[in-house]
Amino acid sequence: MTALNELRQLRQQRGGTTVKPVTNLRKSDGRAALVFLAPWFLGLFGITLIPLVASLVLATTDYDLLTAPTFVGLDNFTAMLSDTRLHQSLKVTLLYVLTGVPLQLVVALGLAVLLNRGLRGMTFYRSVFYLPSLLGGSVAIAILWRQVFGQDGIFNAFLGWFGIEGMGWISHPDTALWTIVLLHVWTFGSPMIIFLAGLRQVPEMYYEAASLDGASRWRQFRSVTLPLLSPIIFFNLVMQVIIAFQAFTQAYVVSNGSGGPSDSTLFYTLYLYQEGFSNLRMGYASAMAWVLVLIVLLLTAVNFWASKFWVFYED
């Protein structure tokens, strides 16, 4: 059960009768629930919901932490319309999400399928593929990336074997973003593990039946594996889009906080950080944050809408 399926079920339950019968009909555990959920309630209201509302209020103000906030209405939002750096950051982030996420998922799915069926050394390969996804978000790896794709980096040394003259991939505005996309693809291990778990659930008899009918491997993949795995692909897609949209560390370290060269790695969150915490434009940063939420919501909604055409639920 993924978080998404839980939400789907909750929505289906609403209006109808409650699906799950209460097995032991005790009185409401209200008081116990209050105790067990006390920290969570405190956190939900104190440092999630109230800040959420506060940031909406802040978004309509000018606030630099030093002087009292002044109300400016929708000025922050209209300012965004003509902010070219903001447009650039949106472009960069969308490019990153729209290329990095699908690429990563294709690699994850491909290797999961290859690993799935009785390959000797499967656990070894799985570990090797998984390790980078634990390290990928760290500063150490981003620093490594700076060297690997630098002018004097080992990627150029590798190209040198084939007589190809490399370039400073990190320092060139046309290629800097793609090195970060590659870093994202490099961390395919965790969606791969989710795919592997999903592949285990596909009943063997489906493949047996398909191959009795003379279906080729490719056909079996298309007609058995993909449809049965589609809810998991969908889950990975939704989650990875949300996560990728918030990518920060890699761009920050690779560009040393600037988003350069020429703003080519100015991720949305990096620009938000610069505006809010370097330039102390708290109001503008809050407005940007709400736009971020709206975009993520929109992308998720599009994903859900599109899922009707390709996601197959057995139940």
């Binding site: 978080a3 839980e6 909750l10 032991n24 409401s28 555990d29 209200g30 116990a32 629930a33 067990f36 959920l37 920290p39 969570w40 405190l42 956190g43 939900l44 104190g46 440092i47 999630t48 109230i50 800040p51 940031s55 799915l109 290797l111 399928v113 290859l114 690993l115 799935n116 069926r117 998984y130 390790l131 980078p132 634990l134 390290l135 760290s138 500063v139 150490a140 620093i143 490594l144 690997v148 980096g153 080992i154 490099w186 965790s190 593990i193 778990a197 659930q201 493949y207 047996e208 191959s211 079996q220 993949f221 920060f248 370290v253 969150t269 809010g276 708290m282 809050s286 709400w290 993520v296």
Partner: protein, 307 residues
């Protein structure tokens, strides 16, 4: 990648194996095809594995090379061993590197306690207690998993600033003490649901209340979920950069990732060796957690990610 390969049919695999057993002296074409296919798969796997792991091993090797030999040197075995990178890197910044590691460790410890205690409590309530509005609260909890941190970070910053908490560890630890990592609540809920209800009912007949059931029945049976929570909390907190960058600006409270980043400012590329050495130092704890906790990591991802 998927266009050139397709899943191995178990049925065919079986058949090949039976065939092979029946006629060992006369390998049929099917058997050869099987061998070729398996070898191809291994070739792809080994190639991919090398590509994945090469940069990491290279990083390790380079941390032992003199800085001037790091550039354009693909080799994984240093021709000249230079251990001074570690000593130089350790003392290259305002404080010894151990200070930053210690700060990271303190934050990790606080977050570990917070997540283990509060997320398991909330998980128990959602998995086992009946209370008004449960579905609504549960749905809210699920939604907060997907809520971008950026939309609350600015007001949180202002709030913590007014409490004089900037440059302390509280802004990083308190959210975990208040179970804001909803992902782990969900993980615990999933796990608690799988524990047979008979166990609790037996305890209840013996007169146990909810606290006793939670501590003596649920938690001992949820060790894998607790381990997964601990491991992920460790790795995510250790790697965290964004919130540490915002809340910690003074040198004496800086963490290992923040300190690593300082190398980029101070060195302008001239001291790759020491920087790589300290990179390795910050990676090592994660690597060990990975080695020890791999089983739980895989299980954890699978149970929360799986349909």
């Amino acid at each position: 990648m998927t266009t050139t390969t397709s899943p191995e049919s178990p049925e065919l695999g079986e058949r090949v194996r039976t065939l092979a057993e029946q006629s060992p002296q006369r390998p049929g074409p099917a058997r050869w095809r099987g061998i070729v296919r398996t070898s191809l798969r291994h070739a792809v796997m080994i190639g991919a594995a090398i590509a994945m792991i090469y940069p990491l091993i290279w990083l390790l090797a380079s941390s032992f090379k003199p800085t001037e030999l790091i550039f354009r040197d693909l080799s994984l075995i240093p021709t000249e061993w230079d251990f001074s990178n570690y000593a130089v890197g350790w003392d290259a910044l305002a404080s010894p590197f151990g200070r930053y590691l210690l700060n990271s460790a303190i934050i990790v410890a606080g977050c570990l306690i917070g997540n283990l205690v509060t997320c398991s409590m909330a998980g128990y309530a959602f998995a086992r207690l009946q209370f008004r509005g449960r579905n609504l609260w549960f749905a809210m909890m699920l939604v907060t998993i997907m809520l971008p941190i950026h939309v609350i970070i600015v007001p949180r910053y202002i709030m913590f600033q007014q409490m004089d908490w900037i440059n302390t560890f509280w802004p990083l630890i308190v959210p975990k003490l208040l179970a804001t990592d909803a992902f782990f609540i969900f993980l615990m809920v999933q796990f608690f649901r799988g524990i047979p209800r008979e166990l609790e009912e037996a305890a209840r007949i013996d007169g146990c209340g909810h606290p006793r059931i939670f501590f003596s029945v649920m938690l001992p049976n949820a060790v894998p979920a607790l381990a997964t929570t601990a491991i992920f909390t460790f790795i995510w907190t250790w790697n965290d950069f964004f919130s540490q960058l915002i809340f910690l600006t003074q040198d004496d409270v800086k963490t290992a990732p923040l300190a690593l980043r300082l190398f980029l400012d101070s060195s302008s590329g001239s001291s790759w060796g020491p920087m790589f050495a300290m990179s390795i130092v910050t990676i090592i704890p994660i690597f060990f957690v990975f080695l020890l906790g791999q089983r739980y990591l895989v299980q954890g991802i699978a149970t929360t990610g799986m349909k």
